[in-house]
Amino acid sequence: MIRIALTMLRTDRAKCTAMILAVTFSVFLMQNQCAILASLYRMMTAQIDDVTDAPLWVMEPDTRCFEQAKPVKDGTLERVRSRSGVAWAVPLLKIDTMARSDSGLLCTVTVMGVDEASMVGLPSRFRFGQPEAIRPAGTCAVDPGGYAQLFPGEPVHFPRRIRILDESLVLTGMTEASAPFTGFPILHCSRVTALRLNKAENRTATFIIGDFTPGANRAAVCESITAATGLAAMDRAGFGEMALRFYNSQGVPRLFWITIAIGLLTGTAITAQTFSMFVREHTTQLAVCRVIGVTKARIIAMVLCQGLFVLSIGCAFGTGLTAITTHAAASEPFLRGIVLPPQVAAGTCAALAAITITAVTIMARRVALMDPAIVFRS
């Protein structure tokens, strides 16, 4: 009987196509917006998460996120190192400046100057080259998206030269740095190199990063650092959460949620409406099945299967479309952080499925409870 139900659905091509298109559109819209939002959330904390070897972050109390941080006062490093519960601490200097490629292309870049002795602050992996290659002054590594922005359309090869202000820098390799929220190239170099590029600012560190001694109470250590230095101190997760709170308060995520809700409501409304029309048009046929001796449970199963068929095809098409568009977007340097996380794909399909199946179940129950004697009257 399930096969009969699916045949009934497939042969009503117009409605079947309309329902599949509605689900496809809804899934595509929701997944697309969810994927962008999830990717933005990931990018908001990307540079914090990339520093995997330093769980402790110390910064100016006004700092709200990685991108909006002002440098800490000189001498802070020693005061942090002297606190009980701090295993070690190193400076990390972040600068936003302008770079010029050898072809003359101008580009805003984020420079990360890491401690040249420990090299703490680098992304955990390099795609090309070695971390040690950026230790000498005047060298740096670039992230994949940054390379594409500085040298558009050119094959990847090293070394290459760029200029920042009046300094010439040699690019020695490529990091696996995550795509940043700003979309700018991320250059990693030693702090010595970064200080030469930091003409507008006298201070030498933006963050103090470090680690807690084993067994130390992280919250207590952070409180003690704050008490001693007047700076904000937190672990990596705490910094990430603070950054997300800040970006959430800016309103942009709310706009995405509105679009996602529109996708969900529009998709389910069109699907439910078309499905309702389809079921209404086939009521007599289903009533004939009831009269012939098909049980109510089976009638409900038939209608549910029709709904599930439409839903699964629409979800597959919608997810495929989103995967294609996000893949295409990821190849653009500025959009390189846009991905479709599997949780987003599954979650949006599940949300749509939950609402659609509820609507279909209500219709199926209505059909099952109809008076089958209508077949004698129509």
Binding site: M1, R3, I4, T7, M8, R10, T11, D12, T284, Q285, V288, C289, V291, I292, G293, V294, T295, R298, D371, P372, A373, V375, F376, R377, S378
Partner: protein, 234 residues
């Protein structure tokens, strides 16, 4: 002696309440025997359709008792009533009510598939009966490609494919011209009548009354009289 296939005793059925209450069946006593074609005849609105709905277990009577093959419908659990309908009753509708999305053979196989028979076996059985009814060359066509008479023959095949003990036909010739209707009735008489099967035909088409072994005339919710047109008794 076998019990009658259908036995109705003082069936009342009303719809609505208060001022809108309509008393459709007003004390029906009726019997249909196996091996015979019994007609329910009467003008539109006299309660014929309501009566067959009650007999098929699709409507509960407001009062009175219906028994099919000796089993009281009222005391039957709902699942048993559905099973009885699936196994023992075949239906032919005025508008055929074939499923347009299915082929002719698939339409006929529906009662067997509803009884959970394997698809291949059901289609084989459906093909066999369609062959008998002269539609062996139309098995894979959609019903829409058939004429009205052919569609009614498909509906007849669907009603008979599971060897039911009662066939209920609701105005089987109403949508057909006289000649085609006559042919369908000939086919019904030839293929459906069986010593273990009762055939109940609702019709107000007096041109086919000569096929009946008994005609129960209904008017205003009651059976006014019963004729036996083929009876040799004077």
């Amino acid at each position: 002696m076998n019990p009658p296939a259908v036995h109705c005793q003082q069936i009342h059925r009303h719809f609505g309440d208060g001022d809108t209450r309509v008393h459709v069946l007003r004390g029906i006593d009726f019997t249909a025997a196996s091996g015979q074609i019994t007609f329910l005849a009467g003008p539109s609105g006299c309660g014929k359709t309501t009566l067959i709905s009650v007999i098929a277990g699709l409507l509960q009577p407001s009062s009175g008792a219906v028994s099919l093959f000796g089993r009281d419908l009222a005391s039957m659990p709902p699942d048993d009533a559905v099973r009885l309908r699936r196994k023992d009753i075949g239906f032919v509708f005025q508008q055929y009510h074939l499923i347009p999305a299915l082929s002719v053979a698939e339409n006929v196989a529906v009662p067997l598939l509803a009884a959970s028979m394997k698809r291949r076996d059901a289609l084989e059985q459906a093909s066999a009966i369609l062959d008998k009814l002269g539609l062996g060359d139309r098995l894979h066509q959609p019903p829409a490609r058939l004429s009205g008479g052919q569609q009614q023959r498909v509906a007849l095949a669907r009603a008979l494919v599971h060897q039911p003990r009662l066939v209920i036909c609701d105005e089987p010739t109403a949508a057909l011209d006289h000649e085609t209707g006559h042919r369908v009735m000939e086919l019904l008489a030839a293929s459906a009548v069986h010593p273990d099967r009762a055939v109940l035909v609702v019709s107000h088409d007096n041109r086919i009354f000569h096929f009946a072994d008994a005609i129960a005339h209904m008017d205003d919710g009651i059976i006014t009289h019963i004729d036996h047109p083929n009876s040799t008794a004077a």
